[in-house]
Symmetry: C2
């Protein structure tokens, strides 16, 4: 097992290499013969299943209905909304032949499904009584990325996409923000990610949206990962598609639309926020296996006690696995660390004599000896501790990389020296946004809606309109 | 609501039209602008979610691990196994361009994923210790069908595909049969389908398989629906892909493979087995909503009592919906029938005075008046009754359409007059199978493994090798 650990590049030496080492060594993904597409292996997929289950419940609590749309979009349908097609056409995969025959009209594999939902909504929306429609689908989308990295950027993306239609603007905006809050709460409470939420600049908006709200997570290296977005479309698509409903005043009106999505990229965010040079670190609330039981030696009493503890954990629905293989304890410990099981449990004959057992928490690698009779309670407490500690640790690190820049010189010196997010006053002009990006590589992350501008634009010195974060991004 | 009912063609007048009427009127699907692809609407998708949840649990109980493979297959990878590519190449969708660039090698959208799994297995299988590998994925596949019908035959198919690798032939065959049994039990116990299971003839086998086992369901009109298959591949793919493992004797060996899949077609099977001229009929165990509560009038006490009953049902996890809309009771009753809610509950002021409530079962439309204080228990009993009755009714009908034919004349007279499955002795020659198909439209359904041949081949008169069912198919 030492080999495994040695296989992981140090996070502080080469973060990009460290990341791909961790996803590989922890058996999360495998590369495939299909360029730009990855295989999500059982352990990686189990994390995604946990994410899907929790989010799906949150969606359903809020009246969301799951559906399934076609995976193909005929070119003419993609072309209906102008901004949308301009944004997506350059990065779609085109199907041109079915069997041996050339198609009359080529179709792309969906890069997102706004146009498919609108095409359906047009048929089923007639009156305000049909609204709101709150739909979601779990599916795979395709975007023809040039460079790809497991979970972060991939030609095929597993995600959910919610699509809703409302009778008025206020309700649609409220839904946009409600679903953003669902993502925020999920990422804070389950993934232990201290995310920053805000509004995208016009330049960074989703193609066709009036407003895009975003979840921005900061990785260990200070680089941003956009980790979920929620869009308000106004009536743009509904006008382009001719979707109309009879409102309460008996007049025809175009409905107001939202969409919101998050992807397996969240797995990448967990890794790049919490993991370390020993391998994966998973927040207990999302970990497929919470406790790894390792009996030391072949002592029958030890094995029997471990099986009893396993049964007690099972009873409390604390997922666990027991390692009775022939590998050495040292190998098993290292493997447990690579896989990121939140707690490792070690029991040897001498421990048993004394009625104690050792718990090793993955986040700090600290050991704790507890009474066997208390072990389930101790595990529960420790899992809570780990969850809280991971969040607090990430929050502290994130806060240490949040900066303010009042002047262009301050901005340059921060951008060139310290990784992180830089908060600035901004005039709102895309020319300043472009200049910052071109000269520093920092892109606008999100407009901070709770704060007001309190000075001049950091770039041009004109009156600022808002506060905004800039940062490098994955 | 009368309009809705009137919209349904009678099942005995035009079965095909009746079917598409039911799927449309019950809001299960919508047609899309994407030729050959359907939209699965919330009510239809909720049925599929129930199916996925139950099957996924059964898979996991048997050690199955979920994964996610790429959705594209490069042409060279599809070409590795000869029979397989011959079977599938004519019916795949080809992606030729990514964005504005022509791909160096075209890729098809997976019609099934054997080659993708093998490509991965080759990398991860080294020793007998790595076996068995029991993988599954829930995904969408594409087969370029010329004619399509909702749920039955579609260009895009939602399904699961299990793929396993084993260290020996016996274990792989046992897995093939184990998963067939999972399908059979699920379809009998949850979908109330009295399915027939057996082995496909060589001609009807899956492309590349040594043996294909099948679940054959008989629809109301006597026509067969192949409703799940499980394949044993032997070492065909593992040899073609060069997958090898070091066996216990420390020798290199090719592993033994299986795959098994079932699709949303099962929703079609439920409809065509149980539903009637009033709309959908769903087995309670798979119905998204088991009880539809309809208060008669606006009486506050009635509404209050209905809400209390709803709360009691919720407590017992009996899914239900209450209809307090302005529609007339007659309209609500008809809608309840169209949607196939297993039980409709009617409560009016006079019922309330007498402390009783009316339960209407969807399968027989029989009414029953029960004491309000007993209503939850009565509902539970009635749901069980409906589930059992649907199975027995379908079994009785199916049995009435199972025939034996000893001679070619008998076969012709049955095939030309009575819809159903015809059991015959068969020599095993594909020429006889072809002749039967060409002259009667009956295809071989499955070889009956429990019965031995007891006469001459029904077609050629030579010594028979087995008993087999023939039938028309969807």
């Amino acid at each position: 097992m030492k080999e495994l650990v040695r296989d992981i590049t140090s996070r502080d030496v080469d973060f990009a290499k460290w990341y791909t080492d961790v996803v590989r060594v922890a058996d999360l993904v495998d590369y495939s013969s299909v360029k730009g597409s990855m295989i999500i292996r059982p352990y990686g997929y189990a994390i995604w299943e946990n994410m899907m289950n929790i989010l799906d419940q949150e969606f359903k609590k809020r009246g969301t209905l799951n559906v399934q749309m076609p995976m193909f979009i005929p070119e003419s349908l993609l072309n209906v909304e102008k901004e949308h097609v301009e944004g997506f056409a350059p990065e779609v995969a085109w199907v041109t032949h079915g069997g041996n025959e050339k198609l009359e009209e080529r179709m792309c594999v969906r890069p997102t499904s706004e146009v498919l939902f609108c095409d359906h909504f047009k048929k089923i929306i007639k009156s305000y009584r049909d609204l709101p429609l709150i739909y979601n689908q779990w599916c795979t989308i395709v975007r023809w990325e040039k460079t790809t990295r497991p979970f972060l950027r991939s030609r095929e993306i597993l995600w959910q996409e919610g699509h809703t239609m409302h009778a008025n603007r206020e309700e649609a905006i409220a839904k946009t923000k409600e679903m953003l809050k669902v993502y925020e709460d999920f990422q804070r409470n389950y993934l232990a990610l201290p995310v920053i939420v805000g509004k995208k600049s016009d330049k960074e908006k989703f193609a066709g949206a009036e407003e895009t709200y975003t979840i921005e997570a900061m990785m260990y290296d200070g680089v941003a990962l956009q980790n979920g977005t929620s869009h308000y479309f106004g009536q743009g698509f509904s006008k382009a598609f001719g979707i109309e409903f009879l409102n309460k005043e008996n007049k025809l009106e175009n409905p107001y639309q939202t969409s919101w999505g998050c992807t397996t990229r969240m797995i990448g965010a967990i890794i790049m926020t919490h993991s370390d040079d020993y391998g994966l670190v998973l927040p207990p609330k999302i970990a497929p296996i919470k406790v790894n039981l390792i009996p030391i030696g072949k002592n029958e009493e030890v094995l029997k006690t471990m099986e009893e503890i396993k049964a007690s954990l099972d009873k409390e629905n604390i997922t666990n696995t027991i390692d009775t293989s022939d590998k050495t304890p040292g190998f098993k410990f290292a493997e447990s660390e690579v896989k990121g099981y939140p707690i490792r449990m070690e029991l040897g004959p001498r421990d048993l004599e004394q009625g104690v057992i050792t718990l090793v928490r993955r986040d700090t690698l600290e050991k704790k000896t507890v009474s066997i009779s208390d072990v389930v309670r101790e595990v529960e407490t420790l899992l809570d501790d780990i969850q809280t500690n991971l969040y607090n640790r990430a929050l502290e690190r994130r806060n240490s990389m949040l900066y303010d820049a009042q002047t262009w010189e301050e901005f340059l010196s921060l951008a060139n020296v310290k990784p992180g997010f830089i908060k600035v006053n901004w005039c709102g002009d895309v020319s300043c946004e472009d200049k910052i990006k071109n000269e520093t590589g920092y892109k606008s992350r999100c407009i901070i809606e709770e704060e007001k501008a309190d000075g001049k634009c950091v770039c041009c010195g004109k009156e600022a309109k808002c506060k905004i974060y800039f940062g490098k991004q994955y």
